[in-house]
Each structure stands twice: as structure tokens, then as C-alpha cells.
């Protein structure tokens, strides 16, 4: 059993209420039919534009947003059906690091109180043990112990993010959702926090779900990378495979947008037309069809299936009609035809 987390057909719809009787008039499909597996000690990067449902996915997995349907299997047990009490106990194992280090810490509590609170809630350890734990966590994330009784506003963004990380680590979780932990930080501070997360992966074997909108950051620390578009996971593969040979046209466009430090290097920038469609009323068929450069008739009508273009062990999952069997067969046929013709003529 090396699967820590299995997400099966997870959906999170936010109902839109309207009219006099506040009836449900529509849904925002923030997360729509997402499935993936996360192995122990591995890190999954989730990337996509703003509003594509990355953060909602992370929160739905932790049941901070109650999923609409689907399963979240954590260590072999579906947690979506757990009662409130059972869920509180499970929360020791799964934690979250937030994007905004200024909003994620209670301004009226000292660093010590912030880090120790999870221990108090779960009644772990004596006062002395808790104190020791807080000290060791502060050492681990690189905060000086004498800052223990200071308030969050006395720290810089990077330091506050470390406090948030220390708090997430208090109960030795097995799984952490990192919701854009570095996007609010300066570039120089970003790398410090990323290195800290890397250290946590290596020393403690914690599995991460690393949410970001920056592919370059993800490349640095993730084993697998998933790309989301309009609530759907459109491509998922090993990080090096995804960066080397992106399959989905949307991924290709995203990758072409990574700035290159070398000014002489030529990039074939794929510029997407139009805006992200509204998740309230997503396009029929493939949600990406109205911006895709390879769009075909089938894309407008049929939702593309989940296709594995890699091997069974080394999955490379794409949701795109370009890689469905008929399409593959057709393109093979097209390339085969001219050679056959040339044979007959000769």
C-alpha cells in the first residue's frame, strides 16, 4: 500500500442561488470530475490559471469545502463520509499551508500560541513537551527561538510563511496541501521557502500537493505535475515528461509562457486567444475547444476521455481528443497512405 491519497471523480459545485425563493439557478463547477493518485512521500504539483479550481481542489480534499460528490481515499479510507469527530481526528494527518502569510495567522496570538494550538486542540503532550516541540519546529523552519513571544505583524512575509509551515508541521502530518505558498513572496525569499519544503520532503517523507500558477516553481520540487483548466485535470505526468513533451495544447501554451533567462534563445510562444470561459457555463465538449489551435468538430460536442499515452507504471494522462484511439489511427493512416500510393505508382 504505497498510495497515500486517491482522489476519485471529485466534484465541487458551488450553487448559485437566485430569484425570490433563493432556488438554485446554476452551479459554479469549480472542481469537475478530478481523479488522481498520490504515492507516499511524493509531491504532486497542480498548475493552472487563476480561477481554474486548484485551490478549491486542495480545500475539497481536506474537506474545508465539503465535496459535492466523489471520493477522497486517504490511507485506504474514504474520508468524505466521516463524521465531524472522526474528521477532527483525521485532520492530524493532513494539513494546509496558505498563500497569504498576512491573512493566515491570527494577529492577536503570539508565534508560540499559533504553533502550539493544534497540540492543545488534540490534547497532545504536557506543557513541557509542547514547549519543546514548538522550539524544535522553530529551529526546523529557521526561526529564532527568542521570537517565540512576538506577534505575527513583527515579522516579514517570508518569516510569517515559515510560522505557517511550522504550524502545519506541529502534528507530524503525512500529507500537506501547499496552496501557492510562495506566490505572495519576493523572489529571493521564495527560494528559501522552497528549499525548506524540499527539506521536509526529504527528511520527513511528507507528501505534498503543491498548488501554483508558476510552472518554473513547480518544476523545482514536484515529482508529478497536473495541469488544470476550468475545474478539470487536462494533463498529468511525471514532471520531466511533462516539461519535455507536453501533450495537451493547453499545457504547451502554458509551458511556452515560462520566461527564459537567455535573451538569444528563441521561444515559439503560443499565445492563447480569448479569456478563460466562465465555469458557470463551460463550453460543451472539451472546455478548451474555443481557445485551442488544434480544434476539431468532435471537440465541440464530446467531452474528451481520460487517455494514458504513457506506460502503466509511468502514466502520462491527457484529456484531449488529439490522443484518442481513432485520432491516432487516422493520423497513422494518413502518414501510411502516401507511401502506399508511391509503391503502387512505381
Amino acid at each position: 500500500m504505497d498510495n497515500l491519497l486517491e482522489v476519485k471523480n471529485l466534484k465541487k459545485y458551488f450553487p448559485i442561488k437566485g430569484g425570490f425563493f433563493r432556488t438554485v439557478v446554476g452551479n459554479v463547477k469549480a472542481v469537475d470530475d478530478v481523479s488522481f493518485v498520490l504515492k507516499k512521500g511524493k509531491t504532486l504539483g497542480v498548475v493552472g490559471e487563476s480561477g481554474c479550481g486548484k485551490s478549491t481542489l486542495g480545500r475539497a480534499i481536506l474537506r474545508l469545502h465539503e465535496p459535492t460528490s466523489g471520493e477522497v481515499v486517504f490511507e485506504g479510507k474514504d474520508i468524505t463520509g466521516l463524521s465531524h469527530e472522526e474528521m477532527v481526528a483525521k485532520r492530524r494527518e493532513m494539513q494546509i499551508i496558505f498563500q497569504d502569510p498576512f491573512a493566515s495567522l491570527n494577529p492577536r496570538l503570539t508565534v508560540f500560541q499559533i504553533i502550539v494550538e493544534p497540540l492543545e486542540i488534540h490534547e497532545i503532550g504536557t506543557a513541557e513537551e509542547r514547549y519543546e516541540k514548538v522550539c524544535s519546529l522553530m529551529d526546523l523552519v529557521g526561526l529564532r527561538r527568542q521570537y517565540m513571544h512576538r506577534y505575527p505583524h513583527e515579522f516579514s512575509g517570508g518569516q510569517r510563511q515559515r510560522i505557517g509551515i511550522a504550524r502545519a508541521l506541529t502534528m507530524n502530518p503525512k500529507f500537506i496541501v501547499a496552496d501557492e505558498p510562495v506566490s505572495a513572496l519576493d523572489v529571493s525569499v521564495q527560494s528559501q521557502v522552497l528549499n525548506l519544503i524540499r527539506k521536509l520532503q526529504q527528511e520527513f517523507g511528507i507528501s505534498f500537493m503543491f498548488i501554483a500558477h508558476d510552472l518554473a516553481v513547480v518544476q523545482h520540487i514536484c515529482d508529478d505535475v497536473a495541469v488544470m483548466y476550468l475545474g478539470r485535470m487536462v494533463e498529468k505526468a511525471k514532471a520531466e515528461d511533462l516539461y519535455k513533451s507536453p501533450k495537451h495544447p493547453y499545457t504547451q501554451a502554458l509551458l511556452s509562457a515560462i520566461p527564459q533567462p537567455d535573451p538569444n534563445r528563441h521561444i515559439d510562444r503560443i499565445v492563447l486567444e480569448g479569456d478563460v470561459p466562465s465555469p458557470i457555463n463551460p463550453p460543451s465538449g472539451c472546455p478548451f475547444h474555443n481557445r485551442c489551435i488544434h480544434v476539431k468538430e468532435i471537440c465541440k460536442a464530446v467531452v474528451p476521455p481520460v487517455i494514458n499515452t504513457g506506460t502503466a507504471e509511468n502514466e502520462h494522462i491527457v484529456r484531449c481528443h488529439l490522443f484518442s484511439e481513432e485520432e491516432q489511427a487516422k493520423s497513422k493512416g494518413e502518414t501510411a497512405k502516401p507511401t502506399a500510393e508511391s509503391e503502387t505508382t512505381s
Binding site: 485532520r91 491570527n106 505583524h153
Partner: protein, 293 residues
């Protein structure tokens, strides 16, 4: 040894720390400390009235009706010959009790109610706040009169009645604050490590709304004191011969031209108290905000 003291320090600062820290900061604020001392003296004087004044509040001096301040009656006497100094002291007992009790009632109900409504959200919030709207739309005089008639005229029923109508605005203010706070990520963080609803409301939400609550409390205190004097004026509150500051002021106002001391002294006592409470409230608000350090 060093480790133990450090541990002790950590244990001490933990739990009580917000209030302990606030206390330390409050002591640095000279105006707040001065107000606290004056208030303390005022309370001591009022509740120690029997030891300070040689008269009783209903005792009539037949030789001195409506007399100006003199060595015998330092604040003068009223038209029935009662010592104003004594009456101001005894009146203070009622007014200070009202200020403290009514404010406590309004604070505890208002904060709990408003915070619960905002935190629960949705239908519960809607129901709870519509109830507040209904209570608002009833004239509070009408409510108080009904309460007084049903439960009888009693000093404490009066306090309860005033408290029961003054929490409504507090509930609305707290709800508004909590609504904006509950969307913050530190609330989500608390949920993510399994904090209970009560912990989230009273440890994470309410302390962050304290600034506004304290400012509003400093407005509530003079209001309840004045409501009491108005009720007494209508014959619903404190009854003769018992005094209260509000009532002394109202009585004094009617003879202001011939005996100004009858309004000056109770008015002064009331103003000084309210003034100190405002300064103390200001100091408390700053002291409770760690960013003001």
C-alpha cells in the same frame, strides 16, 4: 534552572497572554491609568457613602431647604432639605451599577449572538438577524414598560430590562465584524487542524473584533445611564426617595435658575465618570491591539 524559568514563562504567557500583555500596555498609557484611578476612587466613594457622609440620602434637614453649598452641606441641599453630597454618592451606586451590569449584559448577549449568527451563516444567520430586526422595530420604552409591569418594579429588573434592549446594536456590530473576519485564512487554518466552533468563535474571531466592540461599549455606557434617568423621570425606574445621577440631574434641571448647585454637582459626577470611562475604553482598545505596541 534557566530552562525551568523559561518554561514557566512560556506557561505564564500562554493562555492569559492577550490580557496580561494588554494590562502591561495599558499601564504605559498615562491617561488610561489616571482614568482608572479616578474611576476607582469614584466607585469607592459611592459604595462607601455611609462612611463618608454623616447624613442619610433621605434624611431631611428642616433648617436647610434649597441651601447653597456651605460647610455643613458641601454640595448644598435640595428643596426638601436633603444633603446633595450624600445623594450624589448614593445616586452613583445606582448609576455605576447600571453602567456595569447593563453593559455586561449587552456585551455578553450581543457578542455571543452576533458572532454565532455570523459564523453559522446562511439560514441561521438570516433567522437570528430577523429576530433582532423585529426587536428593533418595537419601541424599547414599550418593551421596558412591559418587563417592568410583568416582573414588578425592582432595581435589578430595571437593569435587566435596559440590558435586554441594548444588546441589539452590539449584536449587529459584532456580526458585521465577524462576517469580514471569518473569510480570513487563519480561520480556515483553525478548521484545518480541527478547532471546535467555540474555539474558532471565541479565540480567533471575537478577540479580533474587540477594537470595535470596545469603542461601541464606551458609547453604550452613557446611553444606559441616561436611559435609566429617563425611565425614572417617567416613574418607571428608580423611585423617590432613592437617587440616581440621571434622576438628580433631571430634578436639578427644573430648579436650575434658583439652585444651580443641584444640577452642577450630579452633572459633574456623571461627566467625570463618563469622561474617565471613555479614556479607559480608548486605552483598552489600544492595549488589546498587539500592533499598537
Amino acid at each position: 534552572m534557566d530552562k525551568n524559568t523559561k518554561l514557566q514563562k512560556a506557561a505564564d504567557e500562554h493562555g492569559l497572554s492577550l490580557w496580561k500583555d494588554a494590562w502591561k500596555r495599558l499601564l504605559k498609557n498615562k491617561m488610561a491609568v489616571f482614568s482608572l484611578v479616578v474611576l476607582g476612587l469614584m466607585i469607592l466613594a459611592c459604595f462607601g457613602a455611609p462612611f463618608i457622609s454623616s447624613y442619610d440620602y433621605s434624611q431631611i434637614d428642616y433648617k436647610a431647604f434649597k441651601q447653597a453649598p456651605s460647610s455643613e452641606h458641601i454640595f448644598g441641599t435640595d428643596p426638601t432639605g436633603r444633603d446633595t453630597f450624600t445623594r450624589v454618592l448614593y445616586g452613583g451606586q445606582v448609576s455605576i451599577k447600571i453602567a456595569i451590569l447593563c453593559t455586561l449584559i449587552s456585551l455578553s448577549i450581543g457578542i455571543t449572538y452576533g458572532a454565532t449568527a455570523a459564523y453559522a451563516g446562511g439560514r441561521i444567520d438570516n433567522l437570528m438577524m430577523r429576530f433582532v430586526d423585529v426587536m428593533y422595530s418595537l419601541p424599547y420604552m414599550f418593551l421596558v414598560i412591559i418587563l417592568m409591569v410583568v416582573f414588578g418594579k425592582n432595581e435589578y429588573i430595571l437593569f435587566m430590562a435596559i440590558g435586554a434592549v441594548s444588546w441589539l446594536t452590539m449584536a449587529r456590530i459584532v456580526r458585521g465584524q465577524i462576517l469580514s473576519l471569518k473569510a480570513k485564512e487563519f480561520i480556515e487554518a483553525a478548521r484545518s487542524y480541527g478547532a471546535s466552533h467555540a474555539t474558532i468563535i471565541f479565540k480567533h474571531l471575537v478577540p479580533n473584533a474587540l477594537g470595535t466592540v470596545i469603542v461601541y461599549t464606551t458609547i453604550t455606557i452613557p446611553r444606559v445611564i441616561l436611559v435609566e434617568s429617563f425611565l425614572s423621570f417617567l416613574g418607571l425606574g428608580i423611585q423617590e426617595p432613592n437617587p440616581s445621577w440621571g434622576k438628580l440631574c433631571v430634578d436639578g434641571a427644573s430648579v436650575m435658575e434658583t439652585a444651580p448647585w443641584l444640577i452642577i454637582f450630579p452633572g459633574l459626577a456623571l461627566s467625570i465618570t463618563l469622561f474617565c470611562m471613555n479614556f479607559l475604553g480608548d486605552g483598552l482598545r489600544d492595549a488589546l491591539d498587539p500592533k499598537m505596541k
